[in-house]
Amino acid sequence: MSGVQEGPSMEQQIREYINQEFVAGQEIPQIKDDTELIESGILDSLSILRLVLFVEERYSLKIAPGDVIRENFETVKAICGYVRKRKTQ
């Protein structure tokens, strides 16, 4: 055993945030990494703002409004892909 404890992955953190903030209490199943977030109505304009503020704070990023497009926010996988790309820039 290496003894090194890894924290939750980015996917896990974002998935948990969305499940907790936007899914809990609604009659929809918990989301997966490839669940359509916009098409399914889980995210709307205001919840995307909340998610953006969460991502900015958690990953020390500044997200420009121009980056808030379907392609970057349609699934947890897409959000993580966007964040990773931004972190390496």
Binding site: S45, I48, L49, P65, V68, I69, R70, F73
Partner: protein, 338 residues
């Protein structure tokens, strides 16, 4: 050739836009206020006589909401004033061309200190109003006063809606003379998923965002049913949530036309408390709008049956029955933006 066809031809060829910008705007801007507003009132009086269907529709809306509490005489007078207010709004916009001095001089501004304080605190402010009085002009007037204001609006309607309403293009160029007073291009309400992020972005720059709370739900997917004008209406709670998330104060603003047609009163209220739930603050916004509408119903722009149906205030079957009775085509209701 019927006047409708002439108007459509002018629209299609761009002649209407050209004449409005190059002839009407400079001419009205150069007139003394009494003459410009006098012409607007005369135009409104002609419209009331020639477009009886629209006039009767406003009367029917007032009757539906106020019932016997408003006498038939008062309903007719209010409906007449509704058209006068709308005509005067165009003159307001024209008098705000250039540096806007003409209109600023005939406007009483109250509560400007709340905006100054908000900007001093560094988090911008969300200014909230309703389709009441000369609201778009009022927002631009704050810009003309030197405040960095950006408007959340729907000035450019999608093509298919233009055909439906027949006013899309006019709607855009009537507000052209005031556009330069805004700091940034309009944030197009409900046009994309980034609207709230865009609003927050502007607030982060310590600027002002001006929005309306009485938009029918087709412009806002986040509508909640609230008590309004004696019924239940679906209104947006978005502005309160956005202000809270951005940490910006929420100020209600009303731009009223006072007894004299050429005089406006722009009143900025102290910040609404955002300490409780979003709904508490949203209810307070709606309460203030209702108070304004009840104090002078003729200044509310939304006295149209289809709009009241969109808000959920007017039952659709009754509205369809009204349209059938007066021999008007119901058409299709607008679908919410995707």
């Amino acid at each position: 050739m019927p006047s409708n066809a002439i108007s459509r031809l002018g629209e299609a060829t761009g002649t209407n836009r050209f004449l409005y910008a190059k002839l009407i705007v400079p001419l009205v801007a150069a007139m003394p206020a009494w003459m410009a507003y006098g012409l607007a009132l005369a135009y409104a009086n002609i419209r009331v006589r020639s477009d009886r269907a629209s006039f009767e529709e406003v009367v029917a809306c007032l009757d539906f909401v106020f019932g016997p509490r408003m006498t038939p005489g008062a309903r007719n007078e209010t409906a007449r004033d509704y058209f006068r207010n709308r005509a005067c709004m165009r003159v307001d916009a024209i008098r705000l061309t250039g540096d806007g001095r003409r209109l600023i001089q005939s406007t009483t501004i109250r509560g400007e200190e709340h905006v100054r304080q908000a900007l001093k605190d560094g988090k911008g402010a969300l200014l909230c109003s309703a389709h009441y009085g000369s609201v778009r002009v009022g927002a631009a007037l704050l810009g003309a006063r030197g405040f960095p204001v950006t408007l959340v609006a729907i000035w450019s309607l999608p093509k298919d809606r233009d055909k439906d309403s027949g006013r899309g293009s006019m709607y855009q160029y009537a507000w052209k003379p005031i556009e330069h007073h805004f700091r940034r291009a309009n944030i197009m309400a409900a046009s994309s998923m980034a609207v709230a992020v865009e609003v927050a972005g502007v607030l982060r720059q310590n600027e002002l965002v001006f929005t309306l709370v009485d938009n029918p739900p087709l412009y806002s997917r986040r509508a909640v049913v609230q008590d309004f004008l004696g019924g239940k209406a679906a209104l947006t709670s978005g502005p309160t949530t956005m202000a809270k998330l951005a940490g910006a104060p929420l100020l209600m603003v009303f731009v009223r036309r006072t007894g004299k047609w050429g005089h406006l009163e722009l009143e900025i209220h102290p910040p609404i408390s955002l300490a409780g739930s979003d709904m508490v603050a949203a209810r307070e916004c709606v309460r203030q709008v209702e108070e304004a509408v009840r104090s002078d119903p003729s200044q509310w722009e939304l006295w149209r049956i289809r709009t009241l149906v969109s808000l959920g205030l007017y039952p659709e079957d009754r509205a369809r029955e009204y349209f059938r009775r007066v021999g008007r085509r119901w058409g299709r209701m607008f679908e919410p933006y995707p």
